[in-house]
């Protein structure tokens, strides 16, 4: 029972896992092309 509960918690955590943010634009482009995915870029400023 405890094990099942623990697994449930783990799965819930996995479902809420953070978005994987790509660091390099060339890599992002290569991945998007290979995996047939859109690229989303969020430009922010920290000043």
């Amino acid at each position: 029972m405890v094990r099942i509960l623990a697994m449930g918690v783990l799965l819930a955590a996995a479902a809420r896992a953070d978005i994987r943010w790509e660091q390099d634009f060339e890599r992002a482009k290569a991945r998007a092309l290979a995996e047939d995915k859109l690229i989303f870029i969020d430009f922010y400023a920290d000043w």
Binding site: R16, I19, R20, W21, E22, Q23, F25, A28, K29, A30, R31, A32, L33, A34, E35, D36, K37, L38, I39, F40, I41, D42, F43, Y44, A45, D46, W47
Partner: protein, 212 residues
């Protein structure tokens, strides 16, 4: 964005299916990219298709619940307009777009419903399949172009490496004039390679020796 939009379930599920980047426009790495996309307000959100074509480039983030829909709404509205004009064929590319890139979202589901309604209209199936094929073809072409560019770059690297080996050997054999000609050629024809950097350093050393 970080706290009110991205963690929302629908937003996160949609972003999970994308390649995502967060770029500090003022940072050393981010600045050239911000310039490329003419970013001048924050946040600016850019959406590209897998071939690198800009689909959206907008300053300001729509409120959390409208976030995902804001990227799809234009094409969705176009599809609805065609639908209202009983133009099933015209609606097909827009419906394909919304279903392809926004599956499981509110507008994606609605686009699916409209497809169901248009299924039996003349030419709809063909037009929808053609939109899918156009995308697949563009994707295949871009992949091929990338492979070709990579192959050419590899060839170029191999060639400049061979030239450097040849030049170094000439230099060791005291065939200096021939060696320097080759180094100059490397510098002129293959700039921005490690070999060009090496050629430049050898030529520089030689000049300094001559001065002495």
């Amino acid at each position: 964005m970080e706290t009110d939009t991205f963690p929302r379930r629908g937003v996160q599920e949609w972003l999970d299916g994308l390649v995502c980047m967060k770029v500090n426009a003022g940072g050393e790495n981010g600045h050239p990219l911000a310039t490329k996309f003419k970013v001048d307000g924050f946040p600016t959100l850019v959406l590209l298709d897998p071939m690198g074509k800009v689909l959206h480039n907008m300053a300001g983030a729509p409120p959390g619940e409208h976030f995902v829909a804001s990227f799809a709404v234009e094409r969705y509205n176009k599809a609805v307009e065609s639908y209202n004009l009983r133009d099933a064929k015209g609606a097909a590319p827009d419906l394909f777009f919304v279903r392809k890139w926004f599956p499981g979202t509110d507008l994606g589901k609605r686009a699916e419903e409209i497809c169901g309604l248009l299924e039996k209209e003349e030419g709809f199936r063909e037009a929808y399949a053609a939109a899918g094929k156009a995308h697949a073809d563009a994707l295949a072409e871009a992949r091929k172009a990338k492979e070709e560019a990579e192959r050419k770059e590899e060839e170029r690297r191999a060639k400049v490496k061979a030239l450097r080996t040849e030049a170094d050997e000439l230099y060791k054999k005291y065939l200096r004039t021939k060696a320097f000609d080759l180094y100059r050629r490397i510098l002129a024809e293959y700039p921005d390679t490690p070999e060009a950097e090496w050629a430049e350093s050898v030529l520089k050393k030689h000049k300094q020796k001559l001065r002495k």
